[in-house]
Amino acid sequence: MFVSSFPIYQDIGEFRSVSMIQLHNVFLSYQNDGAALSNVTLSISKGEFVFLTGVSGAGKSTLLKLLYGALKPTKGQVVVEGVNISKLPSSKLPFLRRKIGVVFQDFKLLPARSVLENVALTLEVLGWGKRDIDKRVYHILKQMGIEHKIKTTPLRLSGGEQQRVAMARALVNEPRIILADEPTGNLDEESKEKILSILKEANIRGSTVIVATHDRRLIESCHKRLIVLDKGRVVEDSDAS
């Protein structure tokens, strides 16, 4: 078992030096429903590869949303890269998000824009110049094996290709943290393998990767740390085996 019990508060300073992400007694409840997350405490170190699993509604996506600041905890502390998201003013949030690459479950690709424009968005926000953007986007799409689709719009791509575009958009600026919500859902085995190898590669390059999935076979094939959520609680936190 890894850390299902959080170190005592005095030790946080030392703990923070290696921790990329810390959640301390986090509660989150939506207005009408019950608690989506309940007393979640965990720590993820820099450069770790973590699977987050659990049945639908267990709180996986909610936990990821907390990490990129789309939600704020009702109670408790969420610290990402030394920044306490619970107390972060909304004007500062974009600067934290630039360090986090998110692969959304529904891809969130802009249908009217080409693959190049979709992926370029991340770099435009950072203020990159057009020539540099074109080069970098082509490079990442080549890594994903879809560079020939650079001028195509997402609607003309297959599910696996769309997933890879979404992945390219999240990875193009080599973020410190990568959050992937069901990145292999509805994909064939070959596409799943490809997606997983891209994530592993990003991890080897130094990014901390958190993958929310309920795909048991994917988890078993990787031997990485596994956090299991059930009804908003961490019920298992097992180290890589």
Binding site: K46, G47, Y68, A70, S90, S91, L93, P94, F95, L96, R97, R98, V102, F104, K108, L110, A112, R113, L121, T122, E124, V125, L126, G127, W128, G129, K130, R131, D132, R136, R169, V172, N173, E174, I204, R205, G206, S207
Partner: protein, 314 residues
Amino acid sequence: MPRKNAAKRPKLAREGVTGRLFFFLERAFLNIRQNVLVNLLTIGTIALAFLILSLALLIYVNLERVAECWSDRVQVNVYFEGDLSPSDLSALKSRIKAIKGTAGFDYVSREEALRRFRDRLKGQESLLEEVSAEILPSSLEIRLNRDSRDSESVARYVAQLRKVPMVTEVQYGEEWVKRFSQFMNLVRFAGLLVAGFIVVAVVFIVANTIKLTIYARKDEIELMALVGATRLFIKVPFLIEGVVQGVVGAALALLILSGVYLAFLHNADFLFSFKTMEAGFVFLSVPHLVAVLFGGAALGFIGSLASLKRFISL
């Protein structure tokens, strides 16, 4: 774990105010190109709304002009029993000139009065056979400043005038001036009321049209926020787009209005049997045109800003 081959951040090409502004302009025009249909619909709606507004403005401007022509007829006449001596006349003129509201005056001697009388009764000269200049009074016709032509100002002016020595009999068509003032007040009030309604309707239509175009792109706004765009970065291209839509819409409205106006000038003789040239119709002046274009820009900007507020909560 060490980061291998981390993406080197190139020197930013869009830094500095000019670089940023250029990027935002480029982005705004790219957005317009990528959403041509929505933009055309928005511009069309704005153009229609502004066409109604500028048409109302054109009608109002011409009504005001007609009223101004009519108000030239407001004049005060002072009658004297005999002709005035040059010294009396110059003393009188300097006293009258000093009264607030005097725009100018003409002295009408008895001879001049008779000549005018004859002109008016052309064809019936027999009626004037026994009439000589001596039985007619000489007079001073006083024109008033534009802002002194309403009934109250005229009454005040006449009261001042009566205090001047030698002035005994004053006439100024009291009833006509009163009615004219009432009519002008009514025209202005109705104009303001109609303009108020139109402005409210235009603001409502334009703001809602822009809101719909922004709503259609709420996914894009959400995504930009998720990849780390600041509020300013998201908003500026939309605001530029709003201003462009507003200005182009207003310009289109003015173009259509000028077409309609020219068509009216060419066909009014035939359709309404009056000479448009004599009627003295005018198109909107340059300040009016600039104001309409500026109104379009302002409305586009404010409409976009208000709509964005709803969608950018982060």
